[in-house]
């Protein structure tokens, strides 16, 4: 019943206004770029030093000196610019981006974000630019499955994993719902077709209310590739 990752990306893309400067976190959020509606010009920032990131190049035109933050080959669109890391993080930390879309392990009802370490992590700790983006960007959107693979909720009263930043998440897009983080806690704006508010509450680890004009979360059928 829920959306797949491309559909969540598609749903987020619908809400990004024309002319926005946007950073897409590494991993699932990168998919959002593929679904920007026709006619909107969005400037994508990559924290390793470029604005105006374009799609990946054909294999034979890859250049390892032109990468994104996920260290994958990308292209630059006309109007793009290169700059150094400190200037790039000045943009991030100084609040010059309009929006960032970040993956999440957990989100609390006060907007705390945990997305860089879990307590069960056996990997080395690795934070990258996550704390800079979360703390510095005026509007932070989390993109995540509503529950972890074992079914435990990711939207919680309080995060149990180490925080990335406190009180920063404005909205969460999941496979099941679009949820705003408000002074009154989580407020569902859209719920996936066929699911009741109570069913969503069962999958949410904090108090959840519904917006007055609660909508239905839908997305077109999308292949694995960009739609």
């Amino acid at each position: 019943m829920g959306l797949d990752r491309n559909q969540i990306a598609w749903r987020i893309a619908q809400d990004i206004a024309d002319g926005s400067y946007v950073n897409l976190g590494i991993g699932m959020p990168e998919l959002v770029a593929d679904f920007i509606p026709e006619g909107r010009e969005i400037v994508f920032h990559s924290e390793n030093g470029l604005l105006g990131m374009g799609p990946k190049p054909p294999k034979d035109r890859e250049d390892h000196d032109l990468m994104n933050a996920g260290k994958k080959p990308v292209t630059l669109v006309p109007g793009g610019a290169y700059f150094h890391h400190t200037d790039s993080f000045l943009m991030v930390r100084g609040g010059h981006l309009d929006l960032c879309v970040l993956g999440a392990y957990q989100i609390s009802e006060t907007g705390d974000l945990a997305n860089w370490a879990t307590d069960s992590d056996t990997r080395l700790p690795a934070v990258g630019g996550a704390m800079d983006l979360a703390a510095g960007t005026p509007r932070v959107v989390a993109m995540t499955t509503h529950c972890a693979r074992d079914g435990t909720p990711k939207l919680l009263g309080e995060c149990t994993f180490p925080l990335t930043a406190a009180g920063v998440v404005d909205r969460v897009y999941t496979d099941l719902a679009v949820i705003d983080v408000t002074p009154a806690g989580f407020v569902a704006r859209e719920i996936v077709d066929g699911m009741t508010l109570d069913e969503l509450r069962d999958r949410t680890g904090a108090r959840l209310t519904a917006a007055e004009n609660l909508g239905i979360l839908k997305a077109p059928a999308l292949g694995d590739a960009a739609g």
């Binding site: 024309d18 400037v43 006309p78 109007g79 000045l90 077109p220």
Partner: protein, 249 residues
């Protein structure tokens, strides 16, 4: 599905882009075609960051057009305090500047600031040049405050929190943010990317980053992609409006 009824607040761009969407273009285009468009919305009481070192890089025509625009009670941040009766001096002469923050108000011909100050009609705050510059950068970079040796132990450091690092006293300086930046560059493109000419670069890149609304006057405008991405000095993310003002002969 495209027609979600209540587009949420945050999906609007944060900054004042595409004010002229009325002309029906779908692409980002920060180029405006009149002083009125360039200066629209500047309010009384604004803090205006101004580029330029002497006349090099000074947005003289924008400053003069700001007289017509009408905003009053301005706080101006500028390295110098104008000369002759043009540019910043004209704005001050028109009585629009309540306060000026600068490092060096004295130049040959800085008569207007002299007169206004003597008459008690303008407030003057003098600060070290590098401190003004770094404070603007701090505003741009989201820095809440920074410690510097400059001005520690001097009259200009009096009253500032002082703290020792590495054996030297440092003063705490706070960010200096503008409501508006007015600057002059050489070339601006559709996305607001800017390049400069020689030492006229000076404060331009810094003021561009440090204000909510950044307005550049340029010698020439070009389309997106016409500036080599390696040589862009001010990326367009910092710039809201670009106005071509032909360079005076």
């Amino acid at each position: 599905m495209r027609g979600i009824q209540d587009i949420p607040r945050w999906t609007q761009p944060l900054r004042t882009r595409k004010e002229d969407a009325g002309r029906g273009r779908q692409l980002i285009d920060k180029r405006v075609t009149s002083f009125e468009q360039a200066l629209a919305g500047i309010e009384d009481g604004s803090t205006i960051l101004v580029s330029g070192f002497g006349n090099a890089g000074s947005p003289i025509e924008l400053l003069e057009a700001l007289v017509d625009q009408g905003a009053r009670e301005l706080t101006v941040v500028s390295n110098n305090a104008g000369e002759g009766e043009f540019g910043l001096a004209a704005l001050m002469r028109a009585g629009r500047v309540r306060k000026i923050i600068c490092s060096y108000p004295i130049t040959s011909g800085s008569v207007v600031v002299d007169e206004l100050h003597a008459a008690g009609k303008i407030e003057l705050e003098v600060a070290p040049q590098g401190t003004i510059s770094e404070r603007m950068r701090a505003a741009a970079a989201g820095i809440g405050g920074f410690y510097t040796r400059t001005s520690a132990g001097t009259r200009l450091g009096e009253g500032k929190e002082t703290r020792e690092f590495d054996g030297h006293p440092h003063v705490l300086e706070r960010p200096l943010k503008g409501d508006v930046a007015l600057l002059r560059a050489k070339t601006g493109d559709r996305w607001g990317n800017l390049i400069y000419n020689m030492t006229a670069r000076n404060f331009g890149p810094t003021v561009a980053m440090a204000a909510d609304l950044t307005i550049a006057q340029v010698d020439e405008t070009v389309d997106a992609g016409e500036l080599d991405p390696e040589i862009i000095v001010t990326p367009g993310i910092f710039v809201d409006r670009v106005l071509r003002v032909p360079r005076r002969a």
